[in-house]
């Protein structure tokens, strides 16, 4: 691969392993596949407990756990400028060309993108979630997003609905926003080797039991389905504040032998829970993409889901049954799914998923976004400030002030610690590349002899 096309990417987010969720998954798999494509990828996140400093993961993925404590919901305290020295250091040390931030409510991501822009690097941002426009929290978050996206080179959203949402929230041009969905590791989520019998139908639910994931809908739906079908059993995996309500429901309708509550399921065991069921039930009230549906479909389960956010885009119509987020409609959808069940072959489903989703495809599409970002024209501070001014009567001026101060700080830091004085990290070739090279050399040697 020629040097021009080889990107050196810094992924920034507050959310990364050992924490677990959709964003963490996305960053990990995307990084792995980009590494395989020959790019250099470095991940930056905040320290998790004692895990602080530099770590290496599979495939030589380098992770900087910046010694910065999270203060709420795994987020670092917003300090605007305090992270500048360390972010600058990492970018220079690793000779980064593109900074890629993830998730709108990660403070570390916003700060890193701001510093990277000031230092003249290209930035890409991925939005993983949906927001409303009405409550105070959303209004604040949308303003922050507007600030970051005002000057971002390219943005990525995980679904078309998410793109519409992001464009509305931040006023960014739709042409600048790419839709690249999540994917699923189909090799990890394989169906059960033997087909389950349809005498007893098992419906699996795996989600955090919170309001946003629709745990209250489950409380209404489960007893009704159990009443209608005597051969249906539920397995509920996950924990959360609404677990008590589910357990109350189970007791009220005496369904102890038909509703299994597993508690929190570690991600490594998700597959083994999924393959014990026929139907996967997702009751979320809001969802930008929903990786859980992909995992279930990859295990060959038929999915029943609420029609919210980006969910209708995720699977073809014959692999999912959608329902309005109302108990009656959900019960009707489960009924339809139960009748569809005999015609569903988990292995066929798995093979279809394999052709529909792959992280390699995601990485290739993301690569195009990086290429675009690198092609965008260089702008100096004075050319960029008007973009911030457009963000609002008061906010615009405030944003400009923040950027000007940031610019001055970068210059100050340049005097204090010039770029030249920062040691660059030598690139460590990937293990598998080494093997290939050895083989290659061996072949060459044989030819010569």
């Amino acid at each position: 691969m020629d040097e021009r096309r080889r990107h050196r990417i810094l992924m920034v987010s507050d959310f990364f392993y050992p924490n677990f969720g959709g964003v963490e998954n996305h960053i990990y798999y995307l990084s792995q596949c980009l590494l395989k494509l020959g790019h250099k990828v470095v991940v930056m996140t905040h320290a998790y407990g004692k895990r602080s400093g530099v770590r290496y993961m599979t495939g030589g993925l380098k992770v900087y756990y910046v010694p910065w404590r999270p203060f709420i919901m795994q987020n670092t305290l917003p300090t605007f400028y305090l992270t500048l020295p360390i972010i600058r250091n990492i970018i220079v040390r690793e000779r980064i060309t593109v900074v890629h931030g993830h998730q709108a409510f990660s403070t570390l991501c916003h700060e890193a993108l701001m510093h990277a822009r000031t230092m003249g690097y290209k930035v890409v941002f991925t939005d993983h979630s949906l927001y409303g426009f009405a409550d105070v929290g959303s209004i604040h978050m949308n303003k922050v997003l507007q600030f970051t996206l005002a000057d971002v080179d390219q943005a990525i959203c995980v679904s078309h609905t998410s793109k519409e949402n992001t464009v509305l929230r931040s006023g960014i041009l739709p042409e600048k926003v790419f839709v690249i969905p999540n994917a699923v590791d189909t090799a990890m989520f394989t169906p059960a080797p033997n087909r389950l019998s349809c005498d007893e139908i098992v419906i699996v639910v795996i989600s955090r039991l919170v309001y946003r994931k629709g745990a209250d809908l489950l409380v209404e739906v489960i007893p009704e389905v159990c009443r209608l079908f005597s051969n249906v059993r539920f397995i509920v995996g996950g924990d959360g504040p609404k677990r008590v309500r589910l357990e109350e429901m189970r007791e009220k309708y005496s369904l102890q032998d038909r509703v299994d509550m597993l508690g929190a399921v570690p991600h490594a065991q998700v597959r083994s829970v999924l393959i014990s069921g026929h139907i996967f039930l997702n009751s979320s009230l809001t969802e930008a993409f929903c990786i859980a549906i992909l995992e279930a479909a990859s295990c060959g389960l038929l999915t029943v889901s609420t029609r919210v956010g980006g969910v209708p885009e995720v699977l073809p119509d014959d692999m999912i049954v959608l329902a309005e987020p109302a108990p009656g409609d959900m019960v009707w959808a489960i009924r339809k799914a139960i009748f569809m069940l005999p015609s569903i072959d988990p292995h066929v489903m798995h093979l279809r998923m394999k052709s529909l989703y792959s992280w390699h495809d995601v990485a290739k599409r993301t690569e195009i976004v990086y290429d675009r970002a690198l092609q965008s024209s260089e702008k100096n501070l004075l050319q960029r400030l008007p973009r911030y001014l457009k963000c609002g009567a008061w906010a615009g001026k405030l944003f400009c002030l923040v950027m000007i101060v940031n610019f001055l700080l970068v210059r100050l830091l340049e005097l204090w610690q010039p770029v030249k004085s920062i040691e660059e990290v030598p690139d460590m070739p990937l293990v598998q590349h080494q093997e290939e090279e050895i083989e290659h050399d061996y072949d060459e040697a044989q030819k010569k002899s």
Binding site: L130, E164, N165, L168, G214, T286, P316, S355, I368
Partner: protein
């Protein structure tokens, strides 16, 4: 040339709003279809407001402002020894009787049992207040009167600002919703203000009488007004207008400047604010779409 381009466009498969199956042939990932933002709905839940209706609703606020103004006038008269303690006690008993009769006439849910419980509670309340009166009397002796009055005024402002004008902090019989935190803070502010004023009075009986009076008004006047409003809106309007005229005349005798202030406030609340609200309605901009969090169509009872 143009035709060729058009042909190529017509040949490519139609773009679908789906996330599966990789990049759609013929379309980049940043392609925005004509259907982009099609599902967006603007100003779906906006309520069209009518000026007259808003003005009618604002009467509740004017009414309560008048009630507080009356309480303040009584405080000023008592502090200036215009009203003595016996007439104040008579006023207390009269108000109590009046309040009870209004409650009896307007609420259908009052049973014998509930009424006896109310009476028992009120007797506890009165005896408690009587026992505590000496403490209130000397509570703020070491603090100068100016500070006390300044504090009282600010507490009353807090009270008016946070007051729950649409309901009642003390729940009417059979009410479902719990009072909010703000309305509780408001109620407490008014009670502290009464204690502060009472502590400036010359005798224990004075203190008892004024405390009883203020607490009756602050605790139960919103309840009574709420019951009247629920019983008949017309009665509520008449009652409010009578109260307004009475308050204005009382305040007029008390102080010209206060009268002008109160009149200005009442006009502002019941004419300027409704007009203002209607005017700013046209700037209302609400966006809904598929990205909104779904609302549950049933009650979640914890």
């Amino acid at each position: 040339m143009m035709k060729g381009a058009a042909d190529r466009i017509s040949h490519r498969p139609k773009w679908k709003k789906v996330a599966y199956g990789g990049m759609q042939p013929g379309y980049n990932d940043n392609y925005s279809d004509e259907s982009f933002l099609e599902a967006m709905v603007m100003n779906a839940n906006v309520v069209k407001r009518d000026l007259f209706k808003v003005m009618q609703d604002s009467v509740s606020i004017s009414q309560y402002l008048c009630i507080v103004a009356l309480v303040i006038s009584v405080w000023i008269h008592t502090l200036g020894s215009v009203i003595d303690e016996t007439s104040l006690l008579k006023l207390d008993v009269g108000l109590l009787a009046l309040g009870f009769s209004v409650l009896l006439l307007t609420t259908s849910q009052l049973s014998q049992q509930l009424l006896s419980r109310y009476l028992l509670n009120i007797s506890f309340f009165i005896s408690g207040l009587y026992i505590l009166a000496p403490i209130y009397h000397t509570l703020t002796r070491s603090i100068s009167s100016d500070s006390i009055y300044a504090l009282t005024v600010s507490l009353l402002v807090v009270h008016l600002f946070l007051h729950d004008y649409s309901g009642s902090t003390i729940r009417p019989p059979g009410a479902l919703n719990n009072p909010t935190l703000a309305s509780n803070i408001s109620l407490n502010a008014s009670i502290v203000a009464s204690v502060l004023v009472a502590s400036r009075l010359p005798s224990r009986l004075h203190v008892f009488a004024i405390m009883f009076f203020s607490l009756q008004i602050f605790l139960f006047a919103p309840l009574i007004a709420f019951c009247i409003k629920k019983y008949s809106f017309r009665l509520h309007m008449w009652f409010s207008f009578a109260l307004m005229i009475m308050t204005l005349s009382v305040v007029f005798q008390l102080h010209r400047m206060l009268f002008v202030l109160l009149l200005g406030l009442l006009v502002f609340v019941s004419v300027v604010c409704p007009y203002w609200l209607i005017r700013i309605q046209e700037y209302k901009f609400e966006i809904n779409g598929p990205w909104d969090e779904a609302k549950l169509c049933f009650d979640i009872t914890e």
